[in-house]
């Protein structure tokens, strides 16, 4: 089997926003991927800019690593402003 490679599509929804993942598609090369992404993902003015990235070029964290990767942040409430007691009379802090 000789399947076309898979591409991940990222769309900038509006001027000023960052690109966000929209979905994926198969295409033989980058240019075709871009054209097809335009046809598939922006038919209703969903975007002002598109990125396509070969899926095989993306390194993703594995779901089984979720605990060790993200749980340590839970024990660090001092990274949030609500951790600190500021008297009501003190404004703009």
């Amino acid at each position: 089997m000789n399947e076309w490679p898979l591409w991940e599509v990222f769309i900038r929804g509006q001027h000023g926003l960052a690109h966000q993942h929209a979905g994926s598609l198969h295409a033989p090369d980058a240019e075709t991927a871009l054209n097809n992404a335009r046809d598939v993902y922006t038919r209703r003015n969903e975007g002002v800019s598109i990125w396509v990235v070969k899926s095989s070029d993306i390194t993703a964290s594995s779901p089984s690593e979720k605990g060790p990767l993200f749980e340590p942040a839970a024990s660090k409430p001092y990274r949030h402003p609500t951790f600190y007691e500021v008297p009501d009379e003190v404004k703009h802090l």
């Binding site: 000023g16 001092y78 949030h80 951790f83 600190y84 009379e89 703009h92």
Partner: protein
């Protein structure tokens, strides 16, 4: 319309400029200078606070200070990355910092002598930085504006933890309160200098405003900082080291004394109390880390070859 006129029109209509868009060379250069200078400030800014990590008075304070300094490293990274979208390399920016060609905020050339200085930095220095950065969230260059949004979110605890340190000291013994007062005395004026020269003295202000790289004037931001900060200091029961500081009911703002601009120039030109120390520490860290960068590269190459074989 010429490309420059189309560009200006886009900015006037509030549409962000993105890396692949046309931009005048001056816009690109000004942004590279400003963003890299901002990045350098985040990185060098870790040094005065890092000085107290091992001597924080409790485990709680130590964890907080570590988290804050860690955030500043991240801010430097976001900003270097934003500058790289303009076509300048990371190595080039770091070389410019180390050679003295690129500047960083003059505030980080002052020493942190006591624990109260860590409180004063969070309250005043991060406070001033936040006022500047909130304005920059609206700047015309997309990657810079987005980095600012992220940074502002993270900054929100920095100022509060500093204020909390001072509040604790001010509720403590006579000596502790005196320590807080001494820190305010030393950090107040350098904090006001963070907003830069008077608008009438800053040569590029007009063009930067037109390009929406500068959103609010230096003096406007400084006034906002003074207006917000003075009542906070009064709540602490501290006195500001400025006999001219006074509420002006007619203006609806605080009046305040003139900054010692000679000191400002001196520190920028490299003659502040810690300029040499700060640069030496940065260069040393970079040089001593060279073998780590090389080893990591060699390791990656080795595995690439293995995978290809």
């Amino acid at each position: 319309m010429t490309p420059d006129e189309i560009f200006q029109d886009r900015i006037d209509r509030g549409i962000k400029i993105e890396p692949k868009d046309y931009m005048p060379e001056g816009y690109r250069k000004t942004l590279i200078r400003q963003i890299s200078q901002h990045a350098h400030s985040e990185i060098v800014g870790q040094l005065p606070e890092g000085n107290w990590i091992t001597r924080a008075p409790s485990l709680r304070r130590k964890a907080i200070l570590l988290a804050k300094v860690q955030d500043e490293a991240g801010h430097g990274l976001y900003l270097y990355s934003a500058a790289e979208t303009l076509g300048v390399s990371r190595d080039q920016m770091i070389a410019d910092l180390h050679s003295g060609k690129a500047k960083y905020s003059s505030i980080f050339n002052y020493p942190t002598l006591t624990w109260a200085d860590i409180g004063a930095i969070g309250w005043l220095v991060d406070g001033a930085a936040i006022i500047n950065q909130i304005a920059l969230c609206r700047c015309s260059y997309g990657p810079y504006a987005r980095a600012m949004v992220r940074i502002c979110k993270e900054e929100s605890f920095h100022q509060r933890q500093g204020y909390e340190i001072l509040l604790t000291l001010c509720r403590g013994t006579k000596e502790q309160k005196a320590m807080a007062q001494d820190a305010l005395n030393r950090w107040w004026w350098p904090s006001l200098m963070m907003f830069g020269p008077h608008d009438s003295e800053s040569p590029h202000a007009e063009q930067s405003t037109k390009w929406k790289i500068k959103i609010v004037s230096n003096d406007g931001l400084r006034q906002k900082f003074v207006d917000q900060t003075v009542p906070q200091g009064e709540y602490l029961g501290l006195t500001f080291p400025d006999p001219k500081l006074k509420w002006n009911a007619v203006r609806g703002h605080y009046d305040f004394g003139e900054i010692d601009w000679q000191e400002f120039k001196n520190v920028i030109q490299g003659n502040g109390p810690c300029n040499r120390d700060r640069l030496r520490a940065r260069i040393e860290a970079h040089e001593q880390g060279a073998w780590v960068r090389e080893a990591a590269m060699a390791y990656a190459k080795k595995h690439e070859n293995k995978a290809a074989a």
